[in-house]
Structures are given as structure tokens and as C-alpha cells.
């Protein structure tokens, strides 16, 4: 299946273009015989088959990716188009199409990351160098947005634990705080006070060191597109998507829990932990179900987004309805 082979052999190399074009035509003809409502249901299905493969020919390919046993193996990947044209990145606007439309102004190279706080090796590190520190892995993860939709995304990156260890955090480092770039020229959405800029997120040290937590630098075997948080972002698959801070320019090791942006905005609705939890609703909507992009009916949301076996122990004894 596509999932197992994605980085080595793309479906576009396997399925001749004419086949899927014909398949698309067939579906359209089939659809035309259906009533309007059924056509509505069929529409996005063609969308999925025809555009799943439309990766960016200009993007730099990331070679020799390691497979990871932590990848999801039994779920269908969302298409490149799904992943790169539908997401929240308020630095480029509030609509989920805005990042893809406006992120062209972001300059992800050259890029540097400032490391500071409770660690032995603070400093300013070049992205070019960071890319060479660790072997890159593919990690296929479920991504569950706090807005109750989800995707399956083939990220490329390295364990955050390896990244963190390089800076030799001291015993005082209890949390890692990460910050997005602020630059209204590169990020036009920042001219609006939609959120207090810069965007800030954080993890408890044990969360940051967990093997599932990665720093992503690519997706679909290519360098991370601007709209998905180039050149480097956080991915924590058992937490709501907003924890995945994008276009990181600052990593700080802290003694105290950092105040993350959404908690600062609405602490009743968004917490520091933001673990995916079907039992704890958002005050305004249910988190019990989610719409997997590409599906029509909602599916049940799993505790910790299906990663409970690996991560539930991190929160043993904590009241997750209080620490949401």
C-alpha cells in the first residue's frame, strides 16, 4: 500500500498518468448519473485520487530517509494537497487556505535558531548545520486538530530528544519553550493582532524527550513547504495540532511552565497540555469525534490520538480534565 512505500516509490511513478486521468473521467461520468447530493459525495473522492500525487516539483527532495517503527501503518495517507493547502498558520491569515496562498513571502533559508536558557550549549545555530546533525526519518503520524478534523501525514524529521540532548540541558530545565519567527514582511498575517505575536508553545521536558516527539523539516519526502512551518517545526502526535509550533527561531530551556499562545488567548478553552482527549470537550464543541479529511462521516477520536499505549504513563495521576 501507499503508506508502506511512500518515500521510495511514489504512486505517480507506479500508476501511469493516463490511468488515473481515465479513472478521474470514469468517476466523473459515473458521478453525472447520480443525483446532485450523490455527486456532492463523489466529488472529493475524485479530488483525492487525482491530486494525491501532485507534489511540488521545485522542492528539494530529502534522500535516504529512515523508516520508523513508530509510523502509522494501517491508515491511508492524506494527499499532498490536503496536507499543504488546508491548515492553520495564523501568521499568514485566518483562513485555512491562507497559508498556502500567502506563505510564499517566507524565506526559510538562510535560517538560524537561537538556543538559550538552562542549558550547557546555548548559541545561534544555522539551519544548514542542524540538517546535518541527525539522520532523517520518515514518521507517518495522525494529526488531530483541536477543531475536530484530522489527517495522516508523512513527516520527515528527527527525534526532538536528540536535538535537545545536543544543547545539554541542566537539571533546572523542566520545560522547553519554542517560538515562531516574528517578521511582518515575511509573515503578513502578523500585521493583524489576531494572536499576540510571536506564537509560543512549550513542552514538559519528558514530553520533549519522548521518542514520538519530533522536529519536522519535511513532509512527503520533500523539504517542508513554507505553509507547513518551514524550515523547522514541532510535531507531537498525541497532542492537538496547535502544539506543533512552526517556523521555529528560538528554543529556550526553562524552569517554569511557559505560557503558550492559545492558553494565553483563552485559558478556559485551550490548556498547556492539549492532549487529544475525547472525554474532555472543548467548552464550545465536542472532542469525542473528528472528521478525517477525505471522509464524510465523523469517526471516534481516540485517547491521546491513538498513542495512549506509548504516552498515557507520562500523565499518570494527573486529572486530565483539569490539565487539558
Amino acid at each position: 500500500m501507499l503508506i508502506k512505500k511512500a518515500p521510495d516509490i511514489r504512486e505517480s511513478e507506479v500508476t501511469p498518468r493516463s490511468w488515473y486521468v481515465r479513472r478521474r473521467e470514469f468517476l466523473q461520468v459515473a458521478g453525472s448519473t447520480a443525483v446532485a447530493v450523490a455527486a456532492g459525495a463523489a466529488g472529493p473522492i475524485f479530488d483525492g485520487t487525482a491530486t494525491a500525487l501532485a507534489q511540488n516539483p521545485a522542492a528539494q527532495k530529502l534522500e535516504n530517509l529512515r523508516k520508523s517503527p513508530l509510523s502509522v501503518t494501517d491508515e491511508k495517507l492524506n494527499s499532498y494537497k490536503d496536507v499543504t493547502t488546508y491548515n492553520n498558520f495564523y501568521e499568514f491569515g485566518l483562513d485555512k487556505g491562507d497559508p498556502a496562498r500567502y506563505a510564499g513571502s517566507l524565506k526559510p533559508r538562510p535560517w538560524s535558531v537561537v538556543v538559550e536558557g538552562q542549558c550547557g550549549k546555548p548559541g545561534t545555530y544555522n539551519m544548514e548545520d542542524i540538517m546535518k546533525w541527525f539522520p532523517l526519518e520518515e514518521r507517518i503520524y495522525r494529526m488531530r486538530c483541536v477543531e475536530a478534523w484530522s489527517m495522516v501525514i508523512p513527516w520527515v524529521g528527527f527525534p526532538m530528544a536528540d536535538f535537545v540532548k545536543r544543547f545539554e540541558p541542566t537539571s533546572k530545565a523542566k520545560f522547553v519553550k519554542m517560538t515562531t519567527l516574528v517578521d511582518t514582511k515575511q509573515m503578513p498575517g502578523q500585521t493583524e493582532p489576531a494572536l499576540p505575536w510571536p506564537y509560543v508553545e512549550g513542552l514538559r521536558m519528558d514530553e520533549a524527550m519522548h521518542p514520538l516527539t519530533i522536529m519536522a523539516v519535511g513532509l512527503y519526502g520533500e523539504v517542508l513547504p513554507n505553509q507547513n512551518g518551514a524550515p523547522i517545526r514541532l510535531v507531537v502526535p498525541w497532542k492537538y495540532g496547535f502544539k506543533g509550533v512552526k517556523s521555529i527561531v528560538r528554543v529556550s530551556f526553562e524552569e517554569n511552565e511557559p505560557l503558550n499562545t492559545w492558553k494565553r488567548m483563552q485559558s478556559r478553552e485551550y490548556g498547556f497540555y492539549a492532549n487529544v482527549n475525547p472525554a474532555v470537550d472543548h467548552p464550545r464543541w465536542s472532542q469525542a469525534t473528528e472528521r478525517r479529511i477525505g471522509e464524510f462521516f465523523k469517526r471516534k477520536t481516540l485517547p491521546f490520538n491513538g498513542y495512549a499505549d506509548q504516552v498515557a504513563s507520562l500523565y499518570a495521576g494527573m486529572d486530565l480534565s483539569k490539565f487539558y
Binding site: 494537497k81 485555512k96 478534523w149 472528521r291 464524510f296
Partner: protein, 211 residues
């Protein structure tokens, strides 16, 4: 052709087709698979916003009639109101079928627990009797006065729809605020008109007595 006939035979069908425009757009784009990455969300948002727009158009006709003195505007109230109900039904059915797989228990759970659903559901349910009694027959059966009173329910629907929108969005309150102001002005116009009429009545009564 008399002006009334022109309105009936030409203007009304044109307005009817125009009001079907958003629905046509949805069907067309659904057919070509162009409803975006999350088509269900697109259908939900699109039918929702058009419901609110038709509620606003319906509410705007009477104040516009006062301002312009163009009375035939009243002939469009039923059609616009029924289109509000049409788009509202589409919005509700999308939610009922695709979000709740036709399980009424889930809907009821939302209605009880979530203020934005409470507001939206109330707004929709109150439109049902208005749509049912929109015929000439029902106007006659109820009598103009009672019928008018019943159809003031649209004021509650309008407020409910605005609250539904306002409470749903995560951050982008710009559009909901715009519609809140719009509905506020349209309802305010009615209050203002009524107060004006009362003031005029108060002033004119003694004059009449003298005469």
C-alpha cells in the same frame, strides 16, 4: 403589462433563480470535486452563511419599503423567507447527516450542551412554523393579526442565527460581528419605527380632538 404583472411574471422568476445561485454553485462544485480539502466543512459554512444572508434580506425588505416607499418589495418577503428556510434546512441536514449520521440523540446532546448549537437549532426550528404557514390559506386561517404575530418569530431566528455564528468561530469574529450589527440595525429599525409611530400618534390625538 401592468407593474404588478411585470413583477409577478418577470422580476419574481429572476429573483427566484438568483436566489438559487448559491445552491447551484454548491452542486456544480460538488460535482467537479471543487469544494476544497474539507468539502463537508465547505457545504456547512456556505449553507450557513447563506441562511443568515437570506434572513437579513428578508428582514431588510420592510425597512427598505419604509425608506423608499416602494411597496412591491413586500411581495418578496415570502420568497426570501422560504429561501432562508431552504438554506437553513440544507445547513441543518448537513450537520444532522454528516456530523451525526442521522442520530437524533447526538443532535439533542449538542443542543443541550453547546450554546452555539442551542442558538442555531432554535433559530432553525422556529423557521419551521413560519415556512408551514407561509401560504395564503394559512394567512386566512390564522387571520392577519395572529399570522403577523406568529411571523415575528423571525426576529428570534435572526438573533439565534447571529449568536450561533458568533459562538462558533475560534478567533475570526469579524464576519459574525458584521452580521450582528446588520441584524441589530434591521431589528432596531422596527423598534424605532414603532416608537416614531407612537410619538406621531401622541402628537396627533389632541389635534384630532380639536377638529
Amino acid at each position: 403589462m401592468s407593474p404588478t404583472l411585470i413583477i409577478r411574471r418577470i422580476v419574481k422568476p429572476v429573483v427566484f433563480l438568483a436566489a438559487l445561485g448559491p445552491f447551484t454553485w454548491l452542486v456544480y462544485n460538488a460535482f467537479w470535486g471543487d469544494l476544497g480539502v474539507n468539502p463537508v466543512e465547505t457545504i456547512t459554512n456556505y449553507s450557513g452563511i447563506w441562511t443568515l444572508r437570506f434572513i437579513a434580506i428578508t428582514l431588510a425588505l420592510t425597512p427598505l419599503r419604509w425608506i423608499t416607499g416602494f411597496n412591491p418589495l413586500a411581495l418578496f418577503r415570502r420568497m426570501m423567507g422560504l429561501f432562508a428556510f431552504f438554506y437553513g434546512s440544507l445547513h441543518f441536514m448537513t450537520y444532522f447527516i454528516l456530523d451525526h449520521s442521522l442520530q437524533f440523540a447526538g443532535v439533542w446532546d449538542d443542543v443541550v450542551k453547546r450554546p452555539y448549537i442551542t442558538a442555531g437549532f432554535t433559530a432553525f426550528v422556529l423557521m419551521v412554523p413560519l415556512a408551514l404557514t407561509s401560504t395564503q390559506g394559512w394567512i386566512r386561517r390564522l387571520g392577519g393579526k395572529r399570522w403577523n404575530l406568529l411571523h415575528r418569530l423571525i426576529y428570534i431566528t435572526a438573533v439565534g442565527a447571529v449568536l450561533h455564528y458568533m459562538w462558533k468561530v475560534k478567533l475570526d469574529t469579524g464576519y459574525p460581528t458584521y452580521y450582528a450589527v446588520l441584524v441589530g440595525v434591521l431589528l432596531g429599525a422596527r423598534v424605532w419605527q414603532r416608537m416614531g409611530r407612537r410619538a406621531v400618534a401622541a402628537r396627533t390625538v389632541p389635534v384630532r380632538r380639536e377638529a
